[in-house]
Subunit: 380 residues, 2 copies
């Protein structure tokens, strides 16, 4: 750890804090899990978007990452990451930039799930004289992106991708986004099984049709925290686990004291007669993610914690967020008056990916000391 830059106390608010020891432990745990399952880890970097956290995710593993924007791909390629999967369906307009990346680093992989894009990608790659790696996204039940694994046209699309001399068809990819709406551990385990098995079965179907499938890429933080084995899978792409957050804690992916990302806030209003405090961390510092309301209807917009030790404060609910105000409601027994204006609190956000994106820099902390400043990639 580098030398302390300043104390936590000296930071302005709202500030984004990353607890180094928690982040490092989260990274280590997921890497061990992947090793235990015998699959490759291609961590998603969209949660933090920093070179430093990506390196911690990869410690000792091949430098493969997953990104959600071409801005991230360009940023990480510039920082020496040589194997990048852009895990969002490629829009035809992005082909020139994607091919530029494919020419620049040893491996850049795009995701395709539509006939037209497959055709345009093959044509553009031929024209540019670059072979583009592609994965076919399959819908394992989330119904966001991906082809229907049971529809004949999905095999036909894989065939088209595999046939093109200008595309390198690597295999299939999925993301069980529907894990986030699970209500019980059993339900989550079923989604985790579905993510693995639907994708594995689709890969087998393609192989039976004579299509080479080297890669079966799955993954979300909740399903990888719930799954029992990963037979048939070659790599996993979790991302949120680096920070974790209040949503993941409610789902059972982590405990609150594993959450590495918090927002430091100052009390700007103290109204004991209304049993409320107002913080200077509002929707622009925490995002308006409503959190795991299907599990905890009164979860509020994050977990209100002490500055020292980041311990949840019983009876405090972050009940409302407007642009620059966060309103904390104090239940019976929780004393709002104990936090006059100028007091400080830390918030574990509902959704760390969205809260982190509110900031141009993260203050890396080790207890009371700020030890580093990390600057994420921004924009698209």
């Amino acid at each position: 750890m580098p030398h302390p830059l300043c104390s936590l106390e000296a930071l302005p608010t709202p500030s984004a804090l990353v607890e180094f020891s928690r982040l490092e432990a989260n990274c280590r745990r997921m890497a061990e899990r992947a090793r235990h399952w015998g699959v490759g880890l291609r961590p998603h970097v969209k949660t933090h978007k920093t070179v430093q956290a990506a390196r911690l995710q990869l410690a000792g593993l091949p430098p493969r990452i997953t990104v959600s924007t071409l801005a991230e791909a360009t940023f990480f390629a510039g920082a020496g990451f040589e194997d990048i999967t852009y895990a969002v369906p490629l829009a035809p307009q992005r082909l020139p930039q994607a091919l530029e990346l494919a020419a620049r680093i040893p491996r850049f992989t795009a995701v395709v799930d539509h006939e037209d894009t497959a055709q345009e990608a093959a044509t553009a790659a031929a024209a540019r004289g670059v072979r583009l790696s592609v994965l076919l996204e399959v819908d394992c039940g989330a119904h966001r992106c991906g082809v229907d694994p049971l529809h004949p046209s999905s095999v036909a699309l894989a065939e088209r991708l595999a046939r093109s001399p200008h595309l390198d068809f690597c295999g299939v990819l999925t993301h069980a986004g529907h894990a986030y709406v699970c209500r019980t551990a059993a339900e989550l385990a079923r989604v985790a099984t579905q993510e693995r098995d639907v994708t594995g079965a689709f890969a087998q179907r393609l192989r039976q049709a004579g299509i080479g499938v080297r890669e079966v890429s799955i993954g979300s933080t909740p399903t990888l925290c719930a799954v029992d084995h990963l037979a048939g899978v070659t790599e996993v792409r979790p991302g949120n686990y680096v920070f974790f957050d209040a949503f993941q804690a409610a789902l059972g992916s982590c405990t609150l004291d594993q959450c590495a990302f918090t927002v430091l806030a100052t009390v700007i209003g103290c109204y004991p007669q209304r049993r409320t405090l107002v913080l200077d961390a509002g929707a622009l510092a925490l995002s308006r993610d409503p959190g795991p309301t299907h599990l905890r209807p009164d979860c509020g917009f994050g977990v209100v914690c002490t500055v020292d030790g980041c311990q949840p404060i019983a009876g405090f609910t972050l009940a409302a967020l407007t642009q620059e105000h966060g309103t904390v409601l104090a239940a019976e027994g929780a004393v709002a008056a104990a936090y006059p204006p100028g007091s400080r609190l830390r918030i574990i956000p509902n959704h760390a990916c969205l809260a982190a994106a509110c900031f141009d820099a993260y203050h890396v902390v080790d207890g009371e000391h700020v030890v580093d400043l990390w600057r994420p990639c921004r924009g698209w």
Copy 2:
């Protein structure tokens, strides 16, 4: 209008678009309204955070503005704005920066609603040798910030502020944030009346106690679009009206074709069998503001519009947002297949203030032409 920089078609996505003619008309209309009521207009700039839009808000009026962060205050002071109200309760830690601003521009006004802060402000202003303008925030019913107008301690706090030789007590300020949860025009009219009358009555109470009250500052976009007169009020501070948004349209503050801020998006997934499209505008481009669900439970995360003319597309609902994906559901009769990957759409966000804050620059458009690029202030 400046010369076209490029066509709308040439922009990457997601991009923030500001329709110049709509913004200009929105600014003109609110300025006329303030003139009609005989009150000063001190527009809030937090929605757009740009020098250009602030100048349009002020056209022909004294250069008074309202800000929500000291970063905005510093940014606008640097751009020549000489009379700035920071309309969020001042945290004691911000006193040095507030006094710096008070020394730098002809008038910088802070908001106070707590005894301790009043005391610390007086002490710090004395030590710095600067007289700080202050307003007392009063709670007109929103129960976010502000003192209880009926409690005797509120008059005592005003007296303390007025007595300090180092503070210039200007008057009272409120914001009817509870306008946003109104369900009917009648309910909204009642909140607008309450905002005006509670604040006016509190000012009168202070005057009767011998405290000079020069300013009675109220305002939110919905209440100022609903109020019948502003007797007793000296200035108004609306902000959102510059852009308007889907929430304001549902409340009746505007029509959808007055909304000046949209997000340009590209279709990256087209799944006619699931009746869905996926856009490259997710929660990081639109915010996760749930919108006016109390009025329209199925409002989705914004209004899906055509690129040309920005007309709402019947039957399309922006049903889900994840970090970089927006899922559009097509009702019976609305044809998802008409928008293959690469197609473009525009989204009127639920909450323009939060969506605008997702971008480092806004593309100012006049029909199909991009005519300017505005860079907002960011951070705190």
